[in-house]
């Protein structure tokens, strides 16, 4: 298996998540996954596209994101809706805020498998080992232990739950609250499609359709 690991580091949050991704890199090497690391100055769109052109089965991204993109070292998207076709058919594993909302859905539509978060990700400095474990556990389940997607997502959510409970007992209540929130926003668009895992569900989506149609008509006028 060939992998690309992208990890920028340009602010306090990315310095922590850069360190979290170190474990992923070690696991890849131990498991014989051939991994190209694009860190810091190399975590930019041109280098990411260059490596994706060479071909990879797995794309790993650690840090800032938005609904429609993953953000690189220059604070510009390395992957967004205009170049996400590079991820078609690939496994994508991310720790990035919000990116599952639009980017993840688009990758999934293009037959990719997208592990990520559909809300802003939170973590606290009093529980860094626990947050690292939660963010990385899915990778271990999917690509080291080779557990199928649906089961891996269930096991990851169990891990988040256990960690949240343990954090409460240690008096790290804010950490527990954000562990719980991250658990809820974790998605795996292969185990479950976006429609199933969105909070609104299909029926709500259908109910929204007439309003979307009307607003589109109004915008056209």
């Amino acid at each position: 298996m060939n992998a690309i690991l992208v990890r920028p580091s340009f602010d306090d949050a990315t310095r922590y998540t850069f360190a979290f991704a170190e474990e992923i890199l070690e696991w890849c090497r131990q498991a014989g996954i051939d991994v190209v690391e694009l860190a810091e100055g190399e975590a930019v769109k041109s280098r990411v596209e260059e490596e994706l052109k060479k071909g990879a089965d797995l794309f790993i991204f650690y840090d800032h994101g938005d609904e429609d993109c993953l953000v690189g070292q220059d604070e510009q998207p390395v992957i967004d809706l205009t170049n996400c076709n590079w991820l078609a058919g690939k496994d994508v594993y991310t720790l990035a805020c919000l990116s599952a909302r639009k980017l993840g859905v688009e990758v999934w539509r293009q037959k990719g498998r997208y592990w990520g978060y559909n809300q802003v990700v939170g973590f606290t400095t009093d529980a860094l080992p626990e947050f690292k474990q939660s963010f990385n556990c899915g990778f271990a389940y999917l690509f080291i232990e080779r557990i199928p997607h649906g089961t891996a997502l269930d096991k990851a959510r169990e891990t988040f739950d256990k960690l949240a409970t343990a954090l409460v007992s240690e008096g790290k209540i804010m950490a527990a609250i954000y562990m719980r929130k991250n658990r809820e926003s974790l998605v795996d668009y292969n185990a479950h499609g976006p429609e199933e895992s969105s909070s609104g569900g299909c029926l709500l989506g259908l109910l929204k359709l007439p309003f979307q149609y009307l607003s589109a008509r109004i915008r056209r006028r």
């Binding site: 602010d11 306090d12 800032h64 919000l98 939170g122 409970t165 409460v168 209540i173 954000y178 809820e184």
Partner: protein, 79 residues
């Protein structure tokens, strides 16, 4: 709502204690980082952030009760 005021007061007290015991403590929310004192200030002004913390504190409480129920069932041998 009375219950909400009690919860908010408890959260603010917790953050005050956190500020004293771990002055370097921070909460990261995406690109934003907040110290305990900054978070306390924000919670007094930012209704959306307070709603979020309240929502997940509630969810955590429900989880704890569910986990407690499971433990009781396991210990009592009921299915």
């Amino acid at each position: 709502m009375g219950d909400e005021k009690i919860l908010k007061a408890a959260v603010l007290r917790y953050l005050e204690a956190k500020e004293k015991s771990e002055p370097d403590w921070k909460l990261f929310l995406g690109k934003e980082s907040l110290t305990a004192s900054e978070l306390r200030e924000r919670l007094n002004k930012d209704k959306k952030l307070w709603k979020e913390i309240r929502q997940w504190a509630d969810a955590l409480a429900v989880d704890m009760f569910n986990e407690g129920s499971k433990k009781i069932e396991r210990n009592s041998g009921t299915p």
